[in-house]
């Protein structure tokens, strides 16, 4: 009898431990928010929170696609270059097509269409080559990073292309719903992207296939799952989200600049990892990534409010990423 009770108790303890480890990031976020609410002036104001959202949505949107890619056991480093390229393409379309007599609105929409086409094409190529040749996705997307950075630089001649967009384009990155102190549009896009990817990963066969492919591609293949298609869908998703991010970024400053988004890939990956997604593939949640994005945003904002310089901020962020990975390794051990 006692043994049975003891076994039940230890089992429950393990369950509680796993639950805590699974939700440690939420707990940390709450502690952080409470702490900053008392410690930092102006933290708990509507304006500040809208500011956090606006500042972090541009990268955050991409993080959901990156989550999908990492769960599938892959990685896409090229997204930073895609952000810059998207702005340049639309700016060029607006400038050159109107010069050829096309209506400005139409020219802008053609530009956006071209960006999306590029996103689908690049995602498809990534998936196709990775699957067919077994090339490491790290290297493959590193190649794309350089190619598209170079391409965007050439297309733009190395300078920002400013003041070409129609008025409404500014709304994408700078607009707010509900007046000048309302909710920023990028924040709404962030939420939409979250809901869509969360739904795909949790409620569709594509989501199940993505987890399976990341968990063990050979078992997935022998279960009849179309591994190549699954990888391509993940790669295309992150590329499309990078384009959307690029459009918002360009809209915010009303210019297409090829260096926009440079280095973002690492910030995005950091947010995904802090959100608990495993780099080995097959495990992770889209919700975790949302929390990870907000967490990184809040901590950056808090440190700025506390007048901590940007260099120290990097170090603090590094420590957070390190602890997050440490925790997820520990979690994997506890579960096994």
């Amino acid at each position: 009898m006692e043994n049975v009770a003891a076994a039940g108790l230890t089992f429950d303890r393990k369950k509680i431990l796993i639950f805590l480890l699974d939700h440690i990031i939420e707990v940390c976020l709450i502690i952080l928010v409470v702490g900053l609410a008392f410690g930092a002036n102006g933290f708990l104001t509507w304006a500040n929170w809208m500011n956090i959202l606006r500042a972090n949505s541009l990268k955050g949107v991409i993080a959901f696609g990156m989550t999908m890619v990492i769960i599938a056991g892959l990685i896409d480093l090229s997204i930073g270059s895609i952000v810059g390229l998207a702005g340049v393409i639309v700016a060029l379309a607006c400038r050159d097509l109107t010069a050829a007599g096309v209506n400005l609105n139409l020219a802008c929409i053609i530009g956006i269409g071209l960006c999306l086409l590029q996103a689908v094409g690049t995602g498809w190529l990534h998936g196709f080559f990775q699957h067919r040749t077994g090339m490491p996705p790290f290297i493959l997307s590193l190649v794309s990073l350089y190619v598209f950075l170079g391409l965007a630089g050439r297309l733009s001649g190395g300078f920002p292309i400013a003041n070409q967009f129609p008025e409404w384009f500014n709304q994408l990155g700078g607009g707010r719903v509900g007046g000048p102190s309302g909710i920023p549009i990028p924040a709404i896009v962030l939420l939409l992207a979250f809901v869509i990817v969360w739904f795909i990963m949790g409620y569709t066969t594509t989501g199940r296939a993505t987890y399976a492919v990341g968990g063990n591609p050979e078992s997935a293949r022998l279960s009849g799952i179309n591994v190549g298609k699954t990888k391509i869908i993940a790669f295309i998703t992150v590329q499309i989200l990078a384009v959307i991010s690029g459009l918002m970024t360009a809209g915010q400053v009303m210019a297409g600049t090829f260096t926009f988004g440079k280095g973002w890939e690492l910030d995005v990956i950091a947010a995904v990892v802090v959100g608990g997604t495993s780099f080995t593939g097959g495990a992770g949640t889209v919700w975790g990534t949302l929390v990870g994005v907000i967490f990184m945003g809040v901590i950056g904002n808090g440190m700025t409010l506390l007048n901590i310089d940007i260099h120290t901020q990097y170090i603090v962020k590094a420590v957070i990423v390190f602890l997050a990975v440490l925790l997820s390794s520990y979690r994997a051990q506890v579960k096994a």
Partner: protein, 495 residues
């Protein structure tokens, strides 16, 4: 040269539920190749692991030249000059032969590696082995037998008294085997006691001086190779076998469900033709490397084929892939369930529903309730022992993991099931349960192809048995009219 002996006295090794070694007293002499044979699970590897210091016997003693041995770890065994060469290659492909031989203990001069001495010593050792391998050569450029010889040379560099070789020829081509044998004989002639584990009986007359046969953990006997033949050894290996009979109510239907026409994959199997009827349990027997696994994978579309076709219910498939074959009603439980059959970190529920993903979903939308009920049904029907379907698959025992692999397929309501070594590494009762599942499915009209190294299993389970040798189907037998010994003989013949 004085004769050295390694011997055991009344060794017993018990595992929960089984006795892997039962009162084994055996003696190995130096300067001889002493072969150890027996079926899977006969206790060969357990004995070798005890000599290697990897496990301790439950009771009994073992001696090296009357000196009693106590090993707490494998390094203790090395210190006594007992080394083993295992099937899995432990060489680093990117390094040279000499570096591999002295890996972790390269000779040094003034704290720097003494490369000249390294290559000199390696060259000397290779000369002793009477092989022509360049110590400067990168290991990845060697052929399989050369790698195996380098592995043995590495063992030789420890100046061993006893060398244990575990199935050294299993990965070698026919012509390479002779080269390896030359090396083994060179080893023997230097006065090393060679313990040679194999399942290939045709090798014994060429390489073995003495043969010991183990069966069910007991030593059946030790004989001089000169004095016996194949048949004697097979008799010792199998003894009197009681084949359990399959249920009589499973009838093969007349309707043809699948036909394999001239299926070939270069280097693996050629011109395979056979027919499968509805409700039939068809066995494929053959030794390791006969092409059985590759054939199953070819039929399932897991590997490309060079020619031929698979016809399922009148529909022809020429270059298939698993996705297409699953739609056609096929299921495959692969040879290695952990690497090919399961996603170990994922839950039992998920693993039970990957193959049936499109069936449990409503279109592209997941139906969690339906998925749950599919998973629960298999847990119940297959008697999978777990506290919860949410538990990760890695928490299950081998037998239960295998049942999850099978359940994953049963959820697709397959028409044809391909089983590749389904009973490997699982206990007797789980094995019996797997057979019961096959029969239950056969009653429902599901056809089965069953590949196994365990010939008794094939005789027990199948309606008909095809025999594969060197990538070809060489014979077809009726399990009711043949004994295990005869079946074994046909599988080995001509090798």
């Amino acid at each position: 040269m004085s004769v050295l002996q390694i011997r055991t006295e009344h060794i017993i090794k018990e595992y929960p539920g089984t006795r892997a070694l039962d009162d084994v007293s055996i003696c190995f002499d130096s300067g001889r190749v002493h072969a150890l044979v027996g079926k899977n699970g006969s206790g060969k590897s357990t004995l070798v692991k005890i000599f290697a210091g990897a496990i301790k016997p439950t009771s009994g003693e073992f001696y090296l030249n009357d000196e009693k041995l106590h090993f707490n770890s494998t390094s203790d065994a090395y210190a006594q000059g007992i080394v083993s060469v295992f099937q899995e290659m432990s060489l680093v492909p990117g390094l040279s032969v000499a570096e591999n031989i002295f890996l972790g203990r390269l000779p040094k001069k003034h704290n720097a590696v003494d490369w000249r001495k390294t290559y000199q010593m390696a060259g000397l050792l290779l000369q002793q082995m009477k092989v022509n391998i360049d110590p400067y050569e990168q290991v990845s450029r060697l052929s399989m037998w050369q790698m195996q010889v380098v592995e043995i040379t590495k063992a030789l560099s420890f100046n061993p008294k006893v060398i244990m070789l575990d199935e050294p020829t299993s990965a070698l081509a026919q012509n390479e085997v002779q080269n390896l044998f030359d090396a083994v004989r060179a080893l023997r002639d230097q006065g090393v006691a060679v313990i040679y584990i194999t399942h290939k009986l045709q090798e014994l007359p060429q390489i073995a001086d003495t043969v010991s046969v183990l069966r069910d953990g007991k030593l059946v006997g030790t004989v001089q190779m000169k004095e016996v033949n194949h048949k004697d050894i097979i008799g010792m290996m199998f003894g009197e076998v009681n084949i359990q009979s399959r249920p009589t109510d499973i009838k093969v239907q007349d309707e043809l469900i699948m036909e394999i026409k001239a299926l070939s994959r270069h280097g693996w199997y050629q011109d395979i033709n056979f027919k499968l009827k509805r409700g039939e349990v068809l066995g494929i027997a053959g030794m390791l490397g006969s092409g059985r696994t590759e054939l199953l994978r070819g039929i399932f579309g897991a590997d490309p084929v060079d020619g031929g076709e698979v016809v399922i219910e009148g529909k022809t498939y020429k270059s298939a892939n698993p996705t297409k074959m699953v739609e056609a009603g096929l299921g495959l439980t692969p040879e290695n369930r952990k690497i090919q059959g399961l996603i170990l970190a994922h839950s039992i529920r998920d693993n039970l529903c990957y193959a049936s993903m499109n069936i449990t979903a409503d279109g592209w939308l997941e139906n969690k309730r339906k998925r749950n009920s599919f998973a629960e049904r298999q847990v119940k029907e297959l008697d999978i022992k777990t506290s919860s379907v949410d538990a990760p698959c890695e928490s299950l025992s081998g037998g239960n993991q295998q049942k999850v692999v099978v359940g994953n397929w049963l959820n697709t309501s397959p028409k044809i099931m391909l089983y590749d070594e389904p009973s490997r590494g699982i206990d007797v009762s789980a094995k019996q349960q797997i057979f019961e599942i096959m029969w239950a499915q056969a009653r429902k009209g599901v056809s089965t192809i069953f590949v196994s190294t365990e010939l008794e299993e094939l005789l027990e389970v199948c309606h008909r048995i095809l025999i594969m040798r060197h990538g070809q189907i060489v014979d077809e037998v009726n399990p009711d009219e043949i004994s295990v010994n005869e079946l074994y003989e046909i599988c080995m013949r001509g090798d």
